[in-house]
Point group: C2
DNA sequence: TTTTTCATTTTTGAATGCAAAATTTGCGAT
DNA sequence: ATCGCAAATTTTGCATTCAAAAATGAAAAA
């Protein structure tokens, strides 16, 4: 198993919430499960620590990183900035084919909205945002975006998606698609910012509390 | 020696250009020099690879990452976006004391400009940009900024700093300080973008060529 | 002389082993 | 029964070791 694959598999375990935020990472168990020795596992953990997904405590092992409210706000702010930039760049560089693909994804997402399928809606939503970032044609930007959104997503916040909020989000997405089709970078950037700000407000309002269990883990330890 | 210290020392070696871009990283030598074994060294190299400073080639060791023109453009674009965001946030959060400190640093920098001391000017310039990012009060943003600027700086580009360019840069910095003092987030963001765009144009125009020696190293290898 | 092949050396990637640190456990004192 | 403290156990961090892959170099063939 290649180094990158080890990192990827542990990242997936963390993102799936299988090791919840704040929980201790069981070195020995992971070694057995991935069928590797401690050396490559520890290399991967240090990489993930640099990414912000893992917290290393000298002589005390590693834990799945736990996000505070402040961390969450910071991540959202940065995410907003990155998406706004991606939107501007995408308008300069996006091809007609890419726009068509996003339009199709958008139609798909709206369909899920109409059907009230939140899970599928989220999936489509994410695909669109990622497509915009990809269309920006900047791998550095794409890398940072992936890392930041991964950290946000891991928090598994549950926002109460009211019909009003949902309708607003869909309207914003209409505007996003529209700006893209007009290749209006400044406009798109502006809409994306507002869109993300709304999402951030939702999440922070909901408290996005990390589960009790983990707090307990930390308190006991 | 702690893990983070190992990472830091190797990063410094890379940023100093002691191991030039594209050059092979001599594991054994570094081990002897840092007085550590290969295990912690290799952990550090993987972390630096994730940061983009080191390139890992499976079964072929590691090299100091080499930046193409495209990489450079991408990094500048992202840097621009991050600084623009930092500027906006800073305007919301910066304290009077922080503004005063930046004003002092600015005066200092202008003095170096008057004296024609380019090295000190650059140092002051960098301090101001970093202070703005710090004033944004967002550690996630600060971390990404540090990582991106480090990669840019490592390229050791030499731009022909003409009197005109220099004068323009100083004027832009006046405007930056001014916007900060007025806490004009949108304005500051706009100026920072232009400022960075000008710098990027300088650098890309100059070609920022990685040194011949490294190209040779790669070609032979 | 140039190219190809093959044995030798070096280097890489990962498992194991070992000392130091931290955690847990057990026992005695209050 | 509870607290405190020391011994035992576990876990961590790193050095060492080992197998596999790649680089090197020398000899033979073209």
């Amino acid at each position: 198993m290649l180094h990158e694959e080890v990192v990827g598999r542990i990242r997936a375990i963390l993102l799936d919430g299988e090791i919840p935020p704040g929980a201790r990472i069981p070195e020995r168990e992971l070694c057995e499960r991935l069928e590797i020795s401690r050396t490559p596992l520890r290399e991967a953990l240090k990489v993930l620590a640099a990414e912000g997904l893992v917290q290393l405590l000298p002589h005390r092992g590693s834990r799945a990183a736990k996000l505070t409210d402040k961390d969450m706000r910071d991540l959202f702010e940065v995410c907003q900035g990155l998406e706004a930039l991606a939107g501007e760049l995408a308008c300069e560089r996006i091809t007609d084919a890419e726009i068509d693909a996003i339009a199709a994804a958008h139609a798909d997402m709206v369909q899920h909205y109409r059907e009230g399928d939140l899970i599928q809606y989220y999936r489509g939503n994410r695909a669109i945002h990622e497509a915009i970032v990809t269309a920006a044609g900047n791998p550095v930007l794409a890398g940072l975006y992936t890392s930041v959104t991964a950290r946000i997503r891991r928090a598994r916040y549950v926002t109460p998606m009211t019909p009003q909020r949902w309708a607003l989000a869909v309207r914003e997405h209409e505007a996003i698609l529209n700006a893209l089709q007009r290749r209006d970078g400044a406009g798109l950037s502006h809409i994306l910012r507002a869109h993300l700000r709304h999402k951030r407000e939702e999440v922070l309002q909901a408290g996005f509390a990390e589960t009790e269990a983990n707090d307990l883990t930390l308190r006991i330890a």
